[in-house]
């Protein structure tokens, strides 16, 4: 098929922020995840664990706890002392209320979803009433010294257990009084260190479960104040704890990166007497496991090593197949890199700044696998720092490289970049039009004349870029039937005729840019869209869904193409469907119209539509086999998917020209070295 000159880029210094808290919502199958930089993400388990929503962080807004209330309202609280409600359709904070007790360490909602309890630095537990459109302060519970690090409601909503330093307390919600206080370090002989109760859970049987900095998981009878069971799971702290809905299983996370499952098992078969038994240890993380969650079928853990691990429980899964596979997510399911093809520039998006790099070059050519000598090294041109505490939502560089745009929660910035020889000048475009922000995606058109800004309520703003450095608001495109969700993916055709936009409800709207009219809607498919792109020659829209299905939609004819129908009839290869990371970028090779280039975190694939699709008995990743074969034998083995797994983890891949690719990798080891050191554990000897 061909040789490519691959620019293998590893200087994108992205360090994903650690996972701070998790909240699983069993009914919707969604997981909310809070990171140490204040970002909040929502994963949709039904859509193949796709990272469906991302709300970037804020310098002053850390997230210490997340709570789902009445199913779909998400609240977060943090050391900033505020309780915020997130608007998951606009992807921003809809409003926040000051907790009034200093930094908030913990938050929990009662089972009926009417009240939120927060645990504050000043030792108070405060109750807030959840009302439509916000929350209202209700009252304080009995205040004592010592920060409240964790909270748990009794399932009947009558009591709250709160963990502090050296102590746990139980409050009566109706009277607000402390009705039990238990010293947790009472049982330890000659304690000098303080014992921090990191996490707590109140079971309906009246048992309170705590995990503490001494590495213990303890079960208490709160009425009598006695210790029922104590399990020492680790020599270092047990930081997090979560109980299954049936209260027969508990998952805990420790600061050594290990997670353990506890199960309530009968002491012998058929016996009524049950005891908590530590059953399964897992070591998926290298750093602190700050957050765990327990879904009905899986243990979920998130660590400071930025990994989210979903470990299905084999005994809860009927079908022992794909669903029983372990999932690990480290990198976002969206693109943080944009590429100016013509100018050979890369724009990297960090949480609070952008970096612009020029790629190097070579004069040599070589054979497969060879590393070519460089004529020019890559060059770091500009670092653009975002002012203010808000983190960047999205960014984009124009194909010619002369425009750079980015958006934060409340501001939109456009820069004009000029290159004169070796010097680069960046000028901010004054007076950008006032738009309804935040923008979730930015996209320049191919000739760099206009910029598309994806915004809330399904709308896309069209800005016209003016020389030497200005812009005007041309039009706002909106779906005819309205849409509450923000647009998160955009694709514009090379001829500038069509624009496709995907909103949070997974509907794909196509607009005619010549008339600024809504052209059509792609038939709804019951899964999240992970990437779209419009073919430069045929104007077919290629869509990748999170269940790994691929569709090709003919825009002018408003129907799926024949090839797409063939794919659906024959079905994709099993190995393809069982990949666990979504396709994050699609591009094309204008010289080879039958090629579609796509990639996910672990592979890069050239999909050749002219070749037959592989069936399940064929080898999907057959490149290494093919390379061993003589030419004559190759022809029989060829199939449409040409997959390369050499570059991992792959954050971005694009075609610069006919046979020149750029691949942006971020080796795990590179960013692990930038994380704080994990707890040292002896491996050998005693």
């Amino acid at each position: 098929m061909g040789e490519f000159e691959v620019h293998r880029v590893r200087f994108f210094g992205l360090v994903p922020a650690g996972v701070r808290c998790l909240a699983y919502q069993p009914r919707g199958g969604r997981l909310a995840l809070g990171r140490t930089d204040g970002a909040v993400e929502v994963y949709n388990f039904a859509a193949n664990y796709f990272q469906e929503k991302v709300i970037p962080g804020h310098e002053a807004r850390s997230v210490e706890a997340l709570c789902w209330v009445t199913g779909d309202r998400l609240f977060g609280a943090g050391l900033g002392g505020e309780i915020s409600e997130y608007d998951l359709s606009r992807l921003c904070v809809s409003h926040s209320v000051d907790g009034g007790g200093g930094p908030i360490w913990s938050m929990a909602a009662n089972s009926s979803g009417t009240q939120l309890a927060i645990g504050c630095e000043d030792g108070s537990v405060k109750l807030f009433q959840v009302v439509p459109g916000g929350i209202q302060f209700e009252r304080n519970l009995d205040r004592r010294k010592g920060r409240i690090l964790c909270l748990s409601w009794h399932p009947s909503d009558t009591h709250i257990a709160a963990g502090s330093i050296d102590i746990l307390r139980v409050f009566d919600v109706s009277s607000g009084q402390t009705i039990q206080r238990i010293m947790v370090n009472y049982h330890v002989h000659k304690v000098k260190r303080e014992c921090i109760v990191w996490s707590i859970a109140f079971l309906s049987s009246g048992t309170v479960v705590t995990s503490d900095s001494f590495g213990r998981v303890q079960f208490w009878d709160w009425e009598r104040g006695t210790l029922l069971e104590s399990h020492t799971v680790s020599t270092s702290a047990v930081l997090s704890l979560s109980v299954s809905e049936e209260e027969d299983s508990i998952v805990v996370g420790t600061s050594t990166g290990a997670t353990y499952q506890f199960q309530l098992l009968p002491v012998k078969m058929g016996s009524l007497e049950k005891r908590w038994v530590r059953t399964k240890p897992f070591q998926h993380h290298t750093h602190d496991v700050r957050a765990v969650a327990h879904s009905s079928t899986a243990l979920i853990s998130g660590g400071l090593d930025a990994q989210l691990v979903i470990r299905p429980l084999m005994e809860k899964i009927q079908k022992k197949s794909y669903e029983a596979a372990l999932r690990k997510f480290t990198f976002p399911h969206r693109r943080l890199v944009s590429c100016a093809r013509k100018a050979r520039l890369l724009l990297f998006q960090f949480s609070q700044h952008l970096e612009l790099w020029r790629l190097g070059s070579t004069d040599e050519t070589g054979k497969d696998g060879e590393v070519l000598p460089l004529r020019r090294m890559p060059e770091h041109l500009v670092q653009l720092k975002s002012k203010g505490p808000e983190h960047i939502y999205c960014s984009c560089i124009s194909p010619c490289g002369s425009w750079v745009a980015y958006s934060t929660a409340s501001r939109f910035h456009l820069y004009r970049v000029q290159y004169e020889g070796d010097s680069v000048s960046v000028k901010k475009v004054p007076k950008v039009p006032k738009l309804l922000l935040p923008a979730c995606q930015l996209q320049f058109c191919a000739d760099s004349n206009s910029l598309f800004v994806a915004a809330a309520q399904g709308s896309v703003h069209v800005l016209q870029l003016l020389e030497p450095g200005g812009c005007t608001h041309l039009h706002t495109l909106q779906p005819p039937s309205g849409c509450p969700e923000a647009v998160y993916l955009l694709a514009v055709s090379t001829d500038g005729h069509w624009l496709a936009a995907v909103s949070g409800d997974w509907a794909i709207h196509i607009y005619n840019l010549k008339s600024f009219k809504h052209h059509c809607t792609v038939p709804t498919y019951n899964c999240a869209v992970t990437a779209i792109a419009i073919h430069p020659i045929t104007n077919n829209l290629v869509i990748a869904y999170s269940d790994q299905q691929l569709f090709e939609f003919n825009i002018p004819e408003k129907q799926y193409t024949a090839w797409s129908r063939t794919v659906q009839n024959q079905g994709l290869h099993k190995v393809w469907l069982e990949r666990d990371s979504p396709i994050t970028h699609i591009t094309f090779n204008p010289k080879n119209p039958s090629h579609i280039l796509l990639h996910d975190t672990y592979m890069f694939c050239v999909l050749d539509k002219s070749l037959p699709l592989p069936d399940n008995s064929a080898l999907l990743m057959n490149q290494s086999t093919l390379k061993q074969l003589p030419e004559t034998a190759r022809q029989r083995q060829l199939h449409a998917f040409k997959i390369c797994k050499k570059f991992q983890p792959l954050l971005f891949a694009d075609l610069l020209d006919e046979n020149c690719l750029v691949m942006v990798e971020r080796p795990i080891m590179d960013f692990k070295t930038q994380l704080p050191l994990p707890i040292q554990q002896k491996k050998f000897g005693t």
């Binding site: 620019h7 039904a46 058929g270 794909y322 070589g366 086999t625 034998a633 060829l638 390369c644």
Partner: protein, 722 residues
């Protein structure tokens, strides 16, 4: 294993003890664990702490009154409820002493029993069949209670919780007919069933338990058998009276002696305890307490009770309670099924069907057997997966409800013409996977093979190929298939079988090998054989005789090495012998590869292999040598392609062949050269690897250097995609 442990006396009966009024009425669980409530047939109710053998409280009604309904404990309020003189309801607490002064309500109808469940208040069953919860009854004690059973007489009743809903079941009798009523309290639905008639014999005692919304009613009949009756709770249709069929669960007889049971209790899903008298012919009957295993129909343990019992047996918290002589005796028992699954908490509910591709051997062994064939169920299972990964499979999964079982279809097709048969069978196997699909397919094949055997002209090759290729079969499922294929020399089918069956006996493997080696190349040219295992290293196009030249990555060039050592030999001969040309045609090579791939055990294969003719041995060895040289060309010593043999398979077979025929090979002139080449090649390989071992350290260092280069932040590399 069930065992009876120690026994002790809870209390004396009669004067000084309880139960002056003629024995016990009932024993009910007390408010706390280890407590029981004893009601005698007179005026008294006593609360005992069992392990202490001590009464904690005793209440009696006035002289002249009789407790007619056993005292139960309301677990929610910790109150006691009793009825005396059929209609007078009393409720009291632990602190009350005099029953005269406690709450009293006079009801409008006679009470049969009160049932109290651990969660949910007590339920009152009236003699007329009406049921009220206690709360409802207390709101209006004088409310009218309907009579639903007219002149039937309640014999037994029991209450359960079905999820959140209390369910009451009671059995009545009228003129020798027995009826079962199931009353759901929340939905207030009443179902009436009639028990299947059993001539001459009558039920003596009932007991029941609930599991997965099915009530299992066990009846002890006067013919010394325990029968099982299943009553589903999820029945919405009110079709009047339904007849319940019963199945025998247990026959209470051991080696000639029969147990005349009087009462019985269920211990767990496999064990029941029966109290009764053991009657052996010619001997006096003895009263016994026995535990039976219903699964294996065995008597697990028994205890003789020389003093008389009242025939009543209660069981709470792993303890039996019964009167024995003049005392109330408690016997503890243990009933364990120890299993690994229980220990690790993987004890699966046996009622939820597993989705598995395993064959249920019980359902299908012969074509006469009727298969439980429920297409609806299989569809339900399919859709269980939450995340639907759409694949090709789903598109063929169109299911037509078919009342006929596979066995029946096969039976009906026995005498049809061949074309009709094939059409029907094709339809059959195109159906969605049902629970015992594989077993059914096994039957289909057996039918076909039997037909082949009886009619030598009939051989549906394509159809058999299709089945073997599309289904996951095994040798043991259709043992005759390969025998017939061998007889017919159907090499393609044999190849597919070798590739797909995991359990082919060595004898058959050998037979296949022999057929493959003996069949002529010319013959094979005409036969369609799957060539995918050889297509990658043998050029299948015969016109193209060019031997491909590749870079020798292994550091060893066979030709070169041999040139040095065997300069005397003409190049031509040693090339043919030396493994650069394939000694067999691609079809034969593909067939032999299938043999190489099949699983075998050396000890069983060797005796058969000794029978292989010498010429065939040489040919096969030549081919193996060719494979070995071919695979050694590559650094990873693997042959390209799908299902191509691995180096260890090649080596193992080579050793096996030499072991089996060494003496013959040494004598055979044409083998000599082959052996010496083989020897030289192996020696060279061994030398090469030992040299590699010596420089291993340096190689590792090179690799490290290579990795270091990899950690650069930027490079331009060449990538070839084919």
């Amino acid at each position: 294993m069930a065992v009876l442990c120690g026994s002790f006396t809870l209390c004396g009966l009669g004067p000084g003890g309880v139960g002056v009024g003629g024995g016990l009425l009932a024993l009910e669980p007390g408010p706390d664990p280890d407590h029981v409530l004893l009601t005698d047939r007179g005026r008294t109710a006593t609360l005992f702490k069992v392990s202490d053998q001590k009464p904690l409280g005793c209440w009696s009604v006035k002289h002249g009154q009789i407790i007619t309904c056993p005292v139960v404990c309301n677990f929610e309020t910790h109150e006691y409820v009793a009825v005396h003189d059929d209609k007078v309801l009393r409720i009291w607490k632990n602190t009350d002493i005099n029953l005269d002064k406690v709450f009293k309500a006079t009801l409008s109808a006679d009470v049969f029993r009160i049932h109290s469940l651990p969660c949910g208040g007590p339920m009152v069953l009236f003699k007329g069949g009406g049921v009220r919860t206690l709360d409802v009854l207390l709101e209006a004690p004088q409310q009218e209670i309907e009579n639903i059973i007219s002149d039937e007489v309640i014999k037994w009743s029991e209450a359960f919780m079905d999820g959140q809903q209390p369910v009451l079941i009671f059995a009545t009798e009228k003129d020798g007919d027995f009826f079962v009523y199931v009353q759901k309290l929340k939905t207030n639905s009443l179902h009436k069933y009639k028990l299947e008639q059993q001539e001459l014999y009558k039920p003596l005692s009932f007991t029941a338990y609930i599991k997965n919304q099915i009530i299992t009613l066990l009846c002890l009949y006067s013919n010394d058998s325990v029968y099982k009756v299943l009553i589903p709770l999820q029945q919405n249709s009110e079709e009047g009276e339904q007849i319940l069929s019963k199945s025998q669960l247990l026959k209470l007889s051991v080696s000639g002696s029969v147990l005349k049971g009087t009462s019985f209790v269920v211990l767990d899903k496999d064990h029941v305890a029966v109290l009764g008298s053991l009657v052996a012919p010619g001997e006096e009957s003895k009263e016994c307490l026995t535990i039976w295993n219903t699964k294996f129909q065995t008597l697990q343990t028994s205890k003789e009770l020389p003093l008389a019992t009242s025939g009543q047996l209660w069981c709470y918290e792993e303890k039996f309670f019964f009167t024995h002589g003049k005392v109330l005796t408690v016997i503890m028992y243990k009933c364990e099924t120890s299993s690994l699954a229980a220990a690790v908490g993987k004890h699966k509910d046996s009622q939820t069907p597993d989705v598995s591709s395993f064959v249920n051997w019980n359902t299908l062994t012969d074509e006469e057997l009727v298969v439980s064939f429920q297409p609806q169920q299989s569809v339900a299972l399919k859709s269980e997966s939450k995340m639907t990964l759409r694949s090709k499979r789903n598109s063929i999964a169109k299911v037509q409800p078919d009342p006929l079982s596979v066995g029946q279809i096969l039976l009906s097709l026995k005498d049809t013409s061949t074309t009709v048969l094939e059409d029907e069978l094709r339809q059959l196997i195109s159906k969605a996977r049902m629970p015992d699909f594989q077993a059914s397919i096994g039957c289909v094949i057996t039918t076909l093979i039997n037909r082949c055997k009886t009619n030598p002209k009939y051989y549906p090759q394509n159809f058999l190929l299709q089945i073997v290729q599309t289904q996951d079969l095994s040798y043991s499922l259709c043992p005759d298939l390969m025998a017939v294929a061998l007889e017919k020399k159907d090499v393609h089918l044999l190849q597919i079988c070798l590739q797909r069956f995991p359990d082919i006996p060595e004898e058959i493997t050998y037979a296949c090998l022999k057929v493959f080696l003996s069949i002529s190349e010319a013959c094979l040219q005409r036969i369609d054989v799957n060539l995918e295992s050889v297509s990658c290293y043998i050029d299948t196009e015969f016109n193209n005789k060019e031997v491909k030249t590749e870079i020798v990555e292994n550091g060893f060039n066979a030709e070169l090495e041999q040139d040095i050592r065997n300069t005397k030999m003409t190049k031509e001969t040693h090339l043919t012998a030396g493994g650069s040309f394939c000694p067999v045609g691609p079809q034969k090579a593909a067939l032999l590869n299938a043999v190489l791939h099949s699983a075998y055990s050396e000890a069983f294969l060797l005796p058969h292999l000794k029978n292989l003719p010498a010429q065939q041995v040489v040919l096969f060895l030549r081919y193996l040598y060719y494979l070995y040289v071919k695979s050694s060309e590559k650094i990873n010593t693997t042959l390209p392609g799908i299902r191509s043999p691995t180096i260890s398979q090649i080596m193992d077979w080579m050793c096996l062949l030499l072991d089996a025929h060494f003496t013959v090979m040494v004598m055979l002139p044409e083998a000599k050269e082959l052996l010496s080449n083989l020897h030289k090649f192996v020696r060279a390989q061994v030398r090469f690897y030992s040299e590699l071992n010596k420089i291993e350290g340096s190689l590792r260092e090179l690799q490290r250097l290579n990795n270091q280069k990899d950690s650069q932040t930027y490079s331009i590399e060449v990538l070839e995609l084919i």
